[in-house]
Symmetry: C2
Subunit: 420 residues, 2 copies
């Protein structure tokens, strides 16, 4: 990382001169705008990235830089200085911010340098507005999930694997294809749960129903799978019918809070992120009320090492109401019900790899996506997928699989060898 940034003045900056392809006329940048850019660069920890204004004025070391970020007009600069990451995300989406270089590498670089600049204490500066984020009531949960998952099954089909797994895959061998790694993830989950033929399983948040189908097809389980997304449930039900599993798998369009019955297995893959920590106690009560005495349970969720709200841009534009908990926070699901943690595994780098596959498929399918969605949408999703890769690579996000059972249950394996 450069310690002495080079300031390039105006259009005389040589290789750092920016040629606007859209020819937006903003006039020359003013001294306080240049100062603002410099301040922004310092706050970012002086990453090995060049930041430029519309007129070619730039900050950063050209020798060490891995890419260039250009603010194409005055408005986006002011928005960025005053509202941070939401402005950056939106600015990139609408094309007010241009990025020249590998987006993932540049996001990794900015995570690392900002972290080094702020130091670990920054994790305790909580977002003062976090308390005002609304809780996920039944109605709001429905709305949030609709926002993200009901934009069309077709869109996700383009870049997900054939089983439509929109959660972290498992790469025991990192050369696996995405298809194979998603199958391996489902097997990994089933083995951790010691799934047996005839087991009654309840799944909370089943996506497009792939895991439920997998449990029925390969393990002979009977699965009741809950999801509040109408589009996903319709897809899952249709597919189970056409593939001949509708006697073993039942998809229910309802909230996890309405789960009833008695089950040998509780499983939830990629739902906890949408639950919201105010509802953890209630989730724990639901599991406690439906799990048999010797039942096995697994929660698979994105998490954090340190409590922090989801990126404000992701929260506003991509995943409203999402919150990745720390393990300490997850214990608020388990402790009040005396559940006993048997096994926790962190698959952080597996999620980075999964996202790399998704991003590649997404880019390969840009043309197909653009038939339905505009360029702003494509840019927003590119930033979201790239930013997620960067977050998993630099440790801002984790992926925890937590296996647990009732405290008094002694029907537990003596080793985890059966998983391998």
């Amino acid at each position: 990382m450069t310690t002495e940034p080079i300031l390039n003045k105006g259009s005389t900056a040589g290789e750092q001169h920016y040629e606007s392809s859209n020819s937006i006329t903003n006039g020359p940048s003013l001294p306080h705008e240049r100062f603002g850019l410099q301040q922004f660069f310092e706050r970012m920890g002086q990453p090995r990235i060049i930041f430029k204004l519309w007129d070619g004025f730039g900050v950063g070391s050209s020798q060490e830089s891995i890419g260039t970020v250009t603010f194409r007009n005055r408005k986006i600069l002011y928005q960025l200085l005053f509202s941070g990451e939401v402005a950056f995300g939106d600015g990139y989406s609408v094309g007010s911010i241009d990025i020249d270089g590998n987006l993932v590498d540049m996001l990794v670089e900015s995570n690392v340098s900002r972290y080094q600049h702020l130091g670990i204490q920054s994790s305790f500066r909580r977002n003062p507005f976090s308390r005002f984020r609304p809780s996920n009531t039944l109605g709001r949960a429905q709305k949030n999930i609709h926002h993200h998952y009901d934009i069309g099954n077709e869109f996700y089909r383009i870049w997900l694997d054939s089983e439509m797994q929109y959660t972290c895959a498992y790469f025991p061998d990192d050369s696996l294809t995405l298809e194979a790694a998603q199958q391996a993830k489902m097997d990994h989950v089933c083995r951790k749960l010691r799934l047996q033929p005839g087991d009654k399983v309840v799944e909370a948040g089943c996506g497009w129903g792939g895991l439920a189908r997998h449990m029925a097809k390969y393990y002979g389980a009977n699965v009741t799978a809950y999801n509040i997304s109408e589009e996903q449930v319709r897809y899952a039900s249709d597919r189970a019918k056409s593939e001949g599993y509708s006697d073993q798998v039942s998809y229910v369009q309802d909230d996890y809070r309405n789960v009833v019955g008695n089950f040998d297995v509780f499983v939830s893959v990629g739902m906890l992120e949408h639950v919201g920590k105010d509802n953890y106690r209630e989730l724990g009560n639901v599991i406690a009320s439906c799990l048999t005495d010797e039942g096995r349970a697994l929660i698979h969720s994105i998490g954090r090492n340190v409590p922090r709200q989801m990126s404000a841009w992701i929260d506003r534009r991509i995943f409203p109401g999402a919150y990745p908990p720390t393990l300490g926070e997850m214990m608020n699901i388990l402790e009040p019900n005396r559940f006993s943690v048997l096994d926790i595994e962190n698959l952080r780098l597996h999620y980075a790899r999964t996202l790399e596959h998704w991003l590649q498929r997404f880019e390969d399918a840009n043309k197909e996506v653009s038939e339905t969605f505009d360029d702003n949408f494509i840019r927003a999703w590119r930033l979201y997928l790239s930013g997620s890769i960067a977050a998993f690579l630099t440790g801002g996000l984790q992926l925890f699989q937590v296996v647990f059972c009732r405290e008094r249950n002694n029907q537990i394996p003596w080793s985890r060898e059966h998983i391998y």
Copy 2:
């Protein structure tokens, strides 16, 4: 469990009549004493155990009982009614309480019935005095450890394995001998830490030094091992010298808070229970200050599913200052330093099995122990070992192995297969 206890009045109770072998003359029990016994029985959840007074008056169903507890005098009854588990432990130790039946089975039964009686809400009734328990300052830690570990290496040698492992063994095959299971535990820890020849290891709380010797002998590591128990450090140093590892293993008689240096590996097996949760933040800071950027760390500790103080009797008589944390509490070591949890395994039933071996060896060696210690000591240790078995069998205690590293460390394995 009986739901309708039979009350047996006085010495007319037939098979439940108690013949005092010590012929203590207390006179007949009074109505309020009988009422107190009945209340005690109800508070215990009416276990399948008969409780008797000195004069033969008994409570409980003789048909279903798995054993008999006899309070041999008035004083112990009153002590029990007013101060609970400390009185029970002390009363058993000095012989004021007699137990006829399998002690472990009876303790398991009483844990189960009391839990069913109190329900899960009881876990939130905190001990009102818990806040007054003293924190483990450097001086107090020294005193507490001296209390337990400096009662003589010879005593522990009698009933521990040859490597003097006074922590949970690992039984991947539950027919393993204790010796083999302790070796397996040390290998399990070393594999989780991906220990390599030449690794610089710091061990916090090294007991009699067995793990440090194992790491040197089988993995070629260089270990600096801390312990504040003088007797243990002397034993460990002497043994490393006589077995020829003194160039690879260095034992330091000092507190973990004084660890200095840079290490590839931090390991602590069975120390956290003695740290006290007020000191978790400081422990985390020590690890953060001594671990290299790509260092690996493991903490192995007794734990709980729900926060609760150690049994008051154990705290007073066996392990002063001990506290088994929940996973949520353990996160207070890791979160402030942005450590990333990679793997958690719960070995609860392995500790029950380990303790069964210890108890068997202890009982087999009663004669040898009695050459140094009196009968009260032997009875106290029998109760402590038996009660610990019961706690692990019924889920009151857990055994967590937590593997972690720095957040930014991407040199982590893609699977846990290397452990198996």
